[in-house]
C-alpha cells in the first residue's frame, strides 16, 4: 500500500527506532556493513532501523529491498538519516502491524528468518596486489559466480572508474568508499529493477 511522506514520517516517529550511527566506524576505516546486517537481523516487527551515515547508501537500498525492507531517507547538510522498515509493518490497520515493544510473535518467526540476511552472503575479494586490468577481470568473473542476493565487497587500491559502466551493463551497481589514498572499499550489489 502506498503512503505519502508525511504518513511514513509519522509512522517512523511513533515506531521503536534502533539508531545506528555508522560514521565513526567509517572514519576509522571499518566497514559497517556487517554491523548493519546484524542489527537488521535483530529487528522486531514494527521496529525501524535508523541509520545515520555521511553518504547515501544506495547498495543497502537494493540489498535490504530484496529482503522486504523499504526505506525513507532524509538528508541535511550531507548527513543522511535513512530509516529502514519492513514493508507493510507500519501501515495502520494492518493485522500484521506494529507489535508491542519487546514482544516477538512466534508465528512471525519463520517469516522473519526468510528475509534475514545471512553473513555468508557477503563475498570479499582483495585486488590491491593486482595490476590493471586484472582487478576488473577478477571482479567481472566473480560477478558471474555469485547469486543475486550476494554482496561483493572489493578491497581496491583505486576507484575503479571503468568498472561502473561495465557493471551497469551487467545489471549490477557499485559504490566506492574512500578509506585512504590507496584503499577504496567497493560494494557491489545486484540492481533492483
Amino acid at each position: 500500500m502506498i503512503m505519502n511522506d508525511n504518513e511514513i514520517k509519522s509512522m517512523i516517529e511513533s515506531a521503536n527506532q534502533v539508531v545506528l550511527d555508522v560514521r565513526p566506524s567509517l572514519a576509522q576505516g571499518v566497514d559497517p556493513f556487517h554491523l548493519i546486517m546484524g542489527e537488521i537481523a535483530k529487528l522486531q516487527d514494527g521496529d525501524v532501523l535508523h541509520l545515520i551515515v555521511g553518504f547515501e547508501p544506495k547498495p543497502l537500498y537494493n540489498v535490504l529491498g530484496s529482503r522486504g525492507y523499504e526505506h525513507y531517507t532524509e538528508e541535511t547538510d550531507n548527513v543522511y538519516n535513512v530509516y529502514f522498515f519492513k514493508a507493510g509493518s507500519l501501515a495502520p490497520g494492518n493485522p500484521e502491524g506494529a507489535t508491542p515493544k519487546g514482544q516477538a510473535r512466534n508465528g512471525e518467526q519463520a517469516t522473519r528468518n526468510e528475509f534475514a540476511p545471512l553473513p555468508d552472503k557477503v563475498v570479499e575479494i582483495d585486488v590491491r596486489g593486482m595490476e590493471p586490468p586484472e582487478p576488473m577481470m577478477v571482479i567481472l568473473e566473480k560477478i558471474h559466480e555469485i547469486d543475486e542476493d550476494t554482496v561483493l565487497l572489493v578491497h581496491h587500491h583505486r576507484e575503479p572508474m571503468m568498472l561502473y559502466e561495465k557493471l551497469e551493463e551487467l545489471g549490477w551497481e557499485a559504490v566506492a568508499n574512500r578509506i585512504d589514498e590507496n584503499y577504496y572499499k567497493v560494494v557491489i550489489t545486484r540492481k533492483v529493477n
Binding site: 553518504f55 547515501e56 544506495k58 590491491r128 596486489g129 593486482m130 595490476e131 590493471p132 586490468p133 576488473m136 577481470m137 567481472l140 568473473e141 560477478i143 558471474h144 559466480e145 587500491h157 583505486r158 576507484e159 572508474m161 571503468m162 561502473y164 559502466e165 561495465k166 551497469e168 551493463e169 551487467l170 557499485a174 559504490v175 566506492a176 568508499n177 574512500r178 589514498e181 590507496n182
Partner: protein
C-alpha cells in the same frame, strides 16, 4: 562517491582508435620520409626534410597519441567524462588537414599561403581541444598534481601552435621583431619541453604507480619539476624574445635540464616503492626512454658550455639532440605505453562483457610478446646506430640505422594493429 545512472565515463572506442591508428601511420610515414631523403638529414637543421619529418612526428605520432590517450585517461585519472565527442572528431579533421598541409609545405619548402592555412587549421584544432577539455575539467572534482601538469601543458600547447602560426606568416611577410631562427627555438622548446614535457610528467605521475602498484612515495620532486620546468621554459623564451638569448640560455637551459633530471629521480622514487617486482615491457620501454632523455640533456647542456662556435657542428648536434629526444625519448615512451593501452581497450571493448559467459582471452594473449620484445631491441639498436651515423656524419651508418628502425616500427605497427583482428576471433580455444 556514487556514479550517476548509466555513467559511461570513457570515450567511445572509435574515437580513441581513430587517433591512435592515425598516430601509428604517421610514424611509419615519417620513417619512410627519412629513409627516402636521408641525405638531407645531416647539416643545416633548417633543411626542409628535417622540418617535414619533425612536424610529422610531433603532430602525427606524438600529438595524436597524446590527444587519444588524454581522451581515454581523463575518465580514469580525473574521473570526469569528456564533454563532447563530436568536437573531438571535428578537432581530428582540422588537425589532420593542418598537419598534412604543413608537412607538405615544409617538404616542398613552400613558405607561402599554404603554410599559413595549415597553421590556421592546427590553431582551430587546438582551440577546439582546449574548449572541450576546459569544459570537461571544469566539471571535475579534484585539483591534483596531474591535473595541474595537464593544465600547464595545454597552455604551452596553445602558445606553441600560436607561435608556429606567427612564424609561418613571418616567413612570407616578416613582421616579428627579433631573429626568426631564435624564435624558432622558442617554438620548439615550448612544444617539446612545455607541452609534451608537462603532459608526460603529469600522466606518468598517475600511470606509472598504477601499473607498478607503488604507494607511499614522496611527490615533492614532482612539484620541483613543475616549478623548475616552468621557470626554465618561460625564462628561456622571454630571454630569447627580448634579445638576451646568450645570457638566458646559460641560465635557463640548465634549469630545464635539471627539471627533467629531477623528474627522472621522481620516477625512480616511485619504482623503489613498487609492489610489482618484475618490470614488464611497457616499463622497460620507459626506462630506455628516460635514459635517452637524460643522455640528450646532459649532452645538450655540456654542448652549450663547451661549444667551439663551429656553426655546422652546432647544427649537426642540434639535429642529433632533436633526434634523440623525439625518437629516443618520446617515441620509445609512447611505444611502451601503447602496448599497455591499446590491448586493454580492445579487451574492454570486445571481451569484458563476455567474462564469465565464455572463455575470454587474457590481455597478454592479444598481442605477440616475442615480436614486442624483438621490436624493443631492434628499435633501441637502430636509435643508437642512427645517432652514431648523424654524429659521425656517415651516410651509410645513418641509412642502416634508419632502415633497421623502420623494420622495428613495422613490427610494432603489425603487433599493435593485429590486436584489432582479435574481435573476429570470438571462439577462444584452450
Amino acid at each position: 562517491m556514487v556514479p550517476g545512472l548509466a555513467t559511461k565515463m570513457s570515450p567511445s572506442f572509435k574515437l580513441v582508435s581513430t587517433y591512435f591508428i592515425s598516430a601509428i601511420f604517421s610514424l611509419l610515414a615519417a620513417v619512410v620520409m627519412m629513409i627516402v631523403d636521408h641525405t638531407s638529414l645531416k647539416g643545416h637543421h633548417f633543411s626542409p626534410v628535417a622540418l617535414a619529418v619533425t612536424h610529422l612526428m610531433v603532430l602525427g605520432w606524438i600529438a595524436l597519441t597524446i590527444f587519444g590517450a588524454l581522451f581515454q585517461l581523463i575518465a580514469i585519472i580525473l574521473k570526469v567524462k569528456l564533454w563532447s565527442e563530436k568536437l573531438a572528431f571535428i578537432q581530428y579533421a582540422f588537425h589532420m588537414a593542418g598537419m598534412i598541409l604543413l608537412v607538405y609545405s615544409f617538404y616542398n619548402f613552400n613558405f607561402t599561403a599554404i603554410m599559413v592555412v595549415a597553421g590556421s587549421f592546427l590553431m582551430v584544432a587546438v582551440l577546439i581541444f582546449l574548449v572541450n577539455l576546459g569544459v570537461t575539467l571544469a566539471q571535475g572534482e579534484k585539483r591534483n598534481l596531474t591535473g595541474i601538469f595537464l593544465v600547464a601543458s595545454n597552455v604551452y600547447l596553445f602558445f606553441t601552435v600560436l607561435l608556429g602560426l606567427l612564424l609561418a606568416i613571418n616567413l612570407g611577410h616578416p613582421f616579428l621583431p627579433g631573429d626568426h631562427l631564435k624564435l624558432l627555438t622558442v617554438h620548439a622548446h615550448l612544444g617539446i619541453a612545455g607541452w609534451i614535457g608537462m603532459v608526460i610528467a603529469g600522466v606518468s605521475m598517475k600511470l606509472i604507480p598504477m601499473f607498478t602498484l607503488s604507494h607511499g612515495y614522496s611527490v615533492k620532486p614532482a612539484w620541483l619539476v613543475f616549478i623548475f620546468l616552468n621557470s626554465g621554459i618561460l625564462g628561456f623564451s622571454l630571454a630569447r624574445i627580448a634579445g638576451f638569448s646568450d645570457a638566458g640560455d646559460y641560465i635557463f637551459v640548465p634549469l630545464i635540464a635539471l627539471a627533467f633530471l629531477i623528474f627522472f629521480y621522481q620516477i625512480l622514487l616511485i619504482l623503489k616503492k613498487r609492489m610489482k617486482k618484475n618490470l614488464d615491457l611497457g616499463i622497460k620501454f620507459s626506462v630506455f626512454a628516460y635514459t635517452a632523455l637524460v643522455t640528450a640533456l646532459l649532452g645538450g647542456v655540456s654542448f652549450l658550455f663547451i661549444s667551439n662556435g663551429d656553426a655546422s657542428e652546432e647544427m649537426n648536434l642540434t639535429l642529433v639532440y632533436g633526434f634523440v629526444v623525439i625518437f629516443g625519448f618520446i617515441s620509445q615512451l609512447i611505444m611502451g605505453q601503447m602496448y599497455k593501452i591499446i590491448p586493454f581497450l580492445i579487451w574492454f571493448h570486445y571481451y569484458s562483457s563476455k567474462v564469465g559467459l565464455k572463455k575470454v582471452p587474457l590481455l597478454k594473449d592479444l598481442y605477440n610478446r616475442d615480436i614486442s620484445k624483438a621490436q624493443y631491441y631492434i628499435t633501441n639498436l637502430a636509435i643508437f646506430v642512427t645517432t652514431g651515423g648523424m654524429l659521425l656524419n656517415h651516410e651509410t651508418v645513418l641509412l642502416s640505422g634508419l632502415i633497421v628502425y623502420f623494420a622495428g616500427a613495422i613490427l610494432f605497427s603489425y603487433n599493435i594493429l593485429s590486436t584489432y583482428n582479435r574481435r573476429s576471433d570470438d571462439t577462444v580455444t584452450g
